[in-house]
């Protein structure tokens, strides 16, 4: 079993951290993982993306041309990565910032008002966590208790006070996409 994710958005939307948490969760659950970022000028305000592979077996290519899942947190990301989603794959769209419908009908597209939910929770910076919650709910790629453990690992000690807010965002994202 192998799942490949591309997570994309504006620099500053936390797409790299979202991907790292996903990879971390996979690792803690005993899977093979790789996380590969785009790097360069886009780190400073443009669009950023990362590719995460989670697999039961040794990972060959960390480069993915047909991801099983794409998270697009803004319109340029949707335009760029929608065509790449594997047929039958998942496309999670941040509908707060994207005003168009998905064009593909051979994939499962889910609209998630991630930025609005984060804003309701009082901190727009947890948009990525809302998306992560939705993704985990939709794919079952990791358990929610693992995510809590991951937060403790990726957030530095002095930021641990933010863990409850992040967990709340993850839960809200999950609820939003529950059938």
């Amino acid at each position: 079993m192998k799942q490949e994710f591309i997570i994309a958005g504006f620099g500053g939307q936390g797409v790299l951290l979202l991907g790292q948490m996903l990879a971390y969760a996979g690792m803690l659950e005993g899977k093979q993982v790789s996380w590969m970022p785009s790097y360069g000028p886009e780190m400073r305000g443009g669009t950023a993306n990362c590719t995460v592979v989670i697999s039961d077996e040794e990972i060959g290519s960390p480069v993915v041309s047909q991801p099983s899942c794409v998270i697009a947190l803004n319109l340029p990301s949707l335009d760029k990565f929608e065509p790449m989603v594997k047929p039958g794959g998942l496309l999670l769209i941040n509908s707060s910032l994207v005003d168009r419908e998905p064009r593909r009908d051979d994939i499962k597209a889910v609209a998630l008002p991630a930025t609005e939910i984060a804003s309701e929770l009082g901190n727009i910076r947890v948009t990525n966590m809302v998306a992560l919650g939705a993704l985990v709910q939709l794919t079952g790629i990791a358990s929610f208790s693992t995510l809590e453990e991951v937060l403790k690992k990726v957030l530095p000690e002095h930021r641990h006070s933010l863990i409850p807010l992040n967990l709340q965002a993850i839960q809200r994202g999950a609820q939003e996409v529950k059938a």
Binding site: A23, M27, S34, W35, P37, I59, G60, S61, P62, V63
Partner: protein, 355 residues
């Protein structure tokens, strides 16, 4: 961190591995895509009571390495392609004076300022001697973050053992990507260095030098170096194979490209093509024998690189005309997809395998 798996960036993993290998001093100048390495060591080296120094240039950094290595300390520098070009003078002196050190090149696209995306276009520079004179670096090419750790530790040992600079040849993706790594408990190898310049107390004076004005002496020195390189070639070849036993199309690739090729081999196998992979881990010494042997069983070889075709020349030398050797490359920071490489395998199979 011991024995526990942690998710780390390749650049940082090299830094931590260097610390565990007993690297006492690190000198470097920032350049993308390896800057996480100096950043990591700027924090970690002082924690361990060791030396981190940001030099005024790559040229100064490699010469600081020369000085520190000459005292017998374990020492490292790192950079990316344009910065490694600047270091070439120092690398030639270090090779000539037979000083052990580790040099990391997280390769980006060239020539000139090029770009900042991953490439493998410094293969010639790394393996054939980028500076002047007849010399060789030991060149190690990791293909995963774990291997960046393991080969960094090995690099320090090989450097001391052979009194030779060792290069870790990575690329932008390996430097930037995160994978789980494990640091195993080990004792760094300790090799006596009676040649080091530490002050002449209790002995005759030592001189670290690459100058031999008498041609007979310089030739003697060169034959000594060549004998050392032959010994390295005999003892230190490392490579990995994947589904290569019955391969009709043998892909040869190193580093990140080998990872992508591995997935492509599986794709080709799923289409009924007997594809396999041979991945050189040491680029110098090159696994010439292993490739020659594997070529016996194959119908054709396909070398894949993030360059316009550099390692392919060594593959052709190894195969020595007995089998056709094809090449597929991407340059400038572009990465091939597994599908792309699989298509090339299918193409080669169509030409060479179809009855």
């Amino acid at each position: 961190m011991l024995g526990e798996k942690v998710l780390m960036k390749g650049n940082e993993a090299i830094g931590e591995a260097a610390i565990r290998a007993g690297c006492q001093l690190y000198f470097a100048y920032p350049i993308t895509p390896q800057s996480e390495l100096p950043q990591y060591l700027a924090r970690r080296m002082p924690e361990e009571g060791r030396v981190f120094l940001q030099a005024e240039s790559e040229i100064a950094a490699i010469n600081m390495v020369y000085g520190a290595a000459g005292t017998g300390a374990r020492v490292m520098t790192s950079s990316s392609s344009p910065g490694i070009s600047l270091k070439q003078e120092g690398i030639s002196y270090i090779a000539g004076a037979e000083l052990p050190c580790v040099i990391v090149n997280i390769v980006r696209g060239g020539p000139g300022l090029g770009g900042i995306q991953p490439a493998q276009s410094d293969y010639f520079q790394a393996t054939k001697g980028g500076g002047h004179g007849d010399y060789r670096l030991i060149v190690l090419a990791p293909a995963s973050v774990q291997e960046m750790v393991d080969l960094t530790i090995l690099a320090f040992d090989l450097a001391d053992q052979y009194r030779n600079p060792v290069m870790i040849l990575g690329d932008g993706v390996l430097g930037q990507m995160m994978e789980p790594v494990e640091f195993k408990d080990f004792e760094p190898v300790k090799i006596p260095k009676p040649w080091a310049t530490t002050g002449r107390k209790g002995r005759e004076k030592n001189i670290i030098n690459s100058l031999y004005l008498d041609p007979t002496k310089l030739e003697e020195h060169n034959w000594h170096l060549q004998a050392k390189y032959r010994e390295i070639a005999e003892k230190e070849v490392r490579y990995d194979t994947y589904r290569s036993e019955d391969a009709e199309v043998l892909v040869v690739a190193y580093g990140i490209t080998a990872r992508i090729a591995r997935t492509a081999v599986d794709m080709a196998r799923a289409q009924g093509i007997a594809a396999g992979l041979l991945r050189p881990i040491t680029l110098f010494p090159f696994p010439t024998e292993a490739i020659a042997q594997a070529a016996e069983g194959a119908k054709a070889l396909l070398t894949v690189e993030l360059s316009a075709g550099q390692m392919v020349e060594d593959v052709r030398l190894a195969v020595n005309g007995k089998r056709p050797v094809y090449f597929y490359g991407r340059t400038g920071g572009m990465m091939p997809t597994p599908e792309e490489i699989c298509r090339e395998i299918v193409k080669v199979a169509g030409k060479e395998v179809a009855e």
